[in-house]
């Protein structure tokens, strides 16, 4: 029998919403990148980590206001994402899935090594938080402004990206490429431009996630890897193609994982993402969120 205390559960679940926001931000970026080019971006965590180091550097060198540092970091994420696509994955458009995965891993390795070299004197740093640490109490639950701000930013970014993909020309082109690449090309979709933009947005979101979560713990070269894996789990909910599913999946995973901490099986919390992905894949949850055509087109693309 699983025992738990209700007051702890509420607090842990609230923390879970905050962590889930980070998973969702990463998951949305992964989905965007996958839809645009068929690459599962294993370098997503490394991109976030790299941009967070830039955020830290802006703050410690120039003492810029945090909001300016944040914007610079996000801009770096956008540039990094777009450059990765234009420099590497544009040439791998027709390569097999294995080549793309290994390519993304190589980018991750490069960025990790580069960051460890560039910031070798700053192996464990704590960049500043963006919001005040004053705690707001809602009943028995207390959250500080960093948590609340992150959750709100994630919801805004999620809705923004979903609207972008649903209503703009860019979004139509993105979905067309994902569903039928050849037809989209014949109808005049500039797939490289679309993919570079999608990679840019994905990189920017990754940077945002890193900059928002890292100040609550410590920044090392490896600190984003675990978040990236959980972002993947969020993306798996929608079969790597559904943005709303990634958003829901991220929040759901965060809440479920942190709620376990309040129960008697708290040691399961750290491996919960692994168990969740097994269940998700066995039940093939993605079919409830994504068009069969889109799933299959991307599988063939890979």
């Amino acid at each position: 029998m699983i025992a738990f205390s209700p007051s702890l559960l509420a607090q842990d679940a609230a923390n879970g919403v905050f962590l889930g926001a980070i998973f969702a931000l990463l998951g949305i970026g992964v989905v965007l990148i996958y839809k645009s080019s068929g690459v599962l971006n294993f370098a997503h965590g490394s991109m976030a980590m790299f941009c967070t180091y830039i955020y830290f550097q802006m703050d410690s060198w120039f003492h810029l206001p945090v909001i300016v540092s944040l914007l610079i970091a996000v801009a770096c994420g956008v540039v990094l994402g777009a450059a990765t696509y234009l420099g590497i994955f544009r040439r791998m458009r027709n390569a097999g899935l294995l080549a793309k995965v290994i390519g993304a891993l190589a980018v991750a390795g490069f960025l990790q090594g580069a960051a460890a070299f560039l910031w070798r004197n700053a192996s464990q740093v704590r960049p500043p938080q963006q919001f005040s640490q004053r705690v707001v109490h809602l009943g028995s639950v207390g959250l500080d402004w960093q948590h609340i701000g992150t959750i709100l930013i994630t919801i805004a970014a999620g809705i923004g990206v979903i609207a972008l993909v649903k209503y703009t020309t860019f979004g139509v082109a993105l979905r067309a490429t994902a569903q039928n690449r050849l037809a989209a090309k014949l109808l005049g979709v500039k797939e490289d431009r679309v993919a570079a933009l999608a990679w840019g947005i994905g990189g920017g979101l990754a940077a945002l996630a890193g900059v928002l979560i890292i100040p609550t713990s410590a920044l090392t070269v490896y600190s984003m890897t675990g978040y990236m894996v959980r972002g993947f789990v969020a993306a798996v909910v929608g079969g790597f193609v559904s943005l709303p599913a990634a958003l829901i999946g991220g929040f759901g995973l965060g809440v479920a994982q942190e709620s376990l901490l309040a129960t008697s099986v708290q040691s399961l919390s750290s491996v919960f993402a692994g168990l969740a992905i097994v269940v998700l894949l066995l039940l093939r949850v993605e079919r409830f969120f994504a068009l069969e055509q889109e799933l299959r087109a991307l599988e063939e693309l890979g």
């Binding site: 294995l98 490069f110 460890a116």
Partner: protein, 354 residues
């Protein structure tokens, strides 16, 4: 509604399916065996004679990394399944062997093979997952399993020993032959690595290997040809685990102490990535590839960059760039580069003489 059977277009049916003719039984003869045997003897005798103990120590690690890479060749190069958790199997083999030797007082000669065998069922679980999942999902699954092992298994005291580390003494043979020194341990590892290479060389020319290649190149086609896809995938994963587990056991007794590591996990994703990278760089479809890649990786990290505290990271950056270049320009890796230049050289010499 009447069912309309559509006949497949004739061209597809008539197209001959090219299969290499099976290599017939080859008579064992001295001339064919001479070159590999000479190579083996040179590898086993020369380094201990010429080089100092530290270099032998380094070369041993290069061979062990080569074996770890060989496990990737089986599963990725031959059957086309991506495993991102070789380091996990290495860790299981290392802790199992060290634990058996230290806590169960088993001799190394039993403990190391047992440790490799213990890894097989773990790998088979992943293999069974691979039967259900394709490509991307499998890659993520192995990543997640590696994460679970790192967060859970490698933090259990019953598995890793008190305080997360277990000593692993070098073996000896009935107190007659001692493998305590770095040079003698090098000779032992050369012998074991050669045994694996011989086995893989034989395997790569067998009927099973051709079935594996068929699964890799076209799974549906292979299935239609009557190849039992599930069997070969499971076999590949079992071998993947066995080879990686053996490499782990050798690694444990090489380092003489296994620990899961704290800030930098000893058997985490980074090590898995290093293994995959060095295999790709050397050539993922060749049994020699991982040994070339392993030598480059170990010499780079342990000798050339050993002085700098961030040597490992710099090596990672260099390998990232090299792997990207390999994927973009030479997917067959350094082995492919070597083969191409050898062919070009022969063609030029042949053209000049003829």
């Amino acid at each position: 509604m009447a069912k309309v059977m559509k006949a497949p277009p004739a061209a597809v049916m008539d197209e001959p399916i090219l299969v290499e003719p099976p290599a017939g039984p080859r008579r064992w003869n001295v001339q064919r065996a001479a070159l590999p045997l000479a190579g083996f003897l040179a590898a086993a005798i020369l380094p201990p004679l010429i080089l100092d103990g530290v270099w032998n120590f380094t070369l041993t690690l290069a061979l062990i990394y080569g074996l770890m890479g060989l496990s990737i060749v089986v599963v990725t190069g031959y059957v086309g399944q991506l495993s991102l958790m070789p380091a996990t199997f290495v860790g299981v083999g290392a802790f199992a062997s060290a634990g058996l030797v230290v806590r169960a007082a088993t001799p190394f000669w039993w403990a190391a093979p047992l440790a490799a065998l213990v890894t097989v069922p773990v790998a088979l679980v992943i293999g069974m997952v691979a039967l259900r999942l394709k490509g991307l999902y499998l890659a993520i699954m192995t990543l997640v399993f590696a994460d679970i092992a790192e967060q859970f298994l490698f933090r259990q005291d019953w598995f890793t020993g008190q305080g997360g580390s277990t000593p692993a003494p070098r073996p000896h043979l009935f107190h007659l032959v001692d493998f305590q020194s770095d040079k003698s341990y090098y000779v032992l590892v050369v012998c074991i690595a050669s045994a694996f290479l011989l086995f893989m060389w034989n395997f790569s020319r067998s009927r099973s290997a051709r079935a594996c290649f068929a699964v890799r190149d076209n799974e549906n086609g292979a299935s239609a040809m009557g190849i039992n896809v599930a069997k070969y995938k499971l076999m590949a994963f079992a071998l993947h685990g066995f080879i990686a587990g053996s490499a782990g056991a050798l690694y444990a007794h090489w380092a003489q102490n296994v620990s899961a590591g704290g800030q930098r996990p000893a058997f985490g994703l980074e090590v898995s990535l290093a293994i995959v990278f060095l295999t790709i760089l050397g050539g993922v479809r060749s049994i020699w590839g991982p040994f070339i890649g392993g030598a480059i990786w170990v010499i780079l990290t342990k000798r050339l960059l050993a002085g700098s505290p961030n040597g490992q990271s710099i090596a990672f950056s260099i390998f990232g760039v090299l792997v990207l270049a390999t994927m973009l320009y030479r997917p067959a890796g350094l082995v492919g580069v070597g083969r191409d230049s050898w062919r070009a050289l022969r063609r030029r010499l042949g053209g000049a003489s003829g």
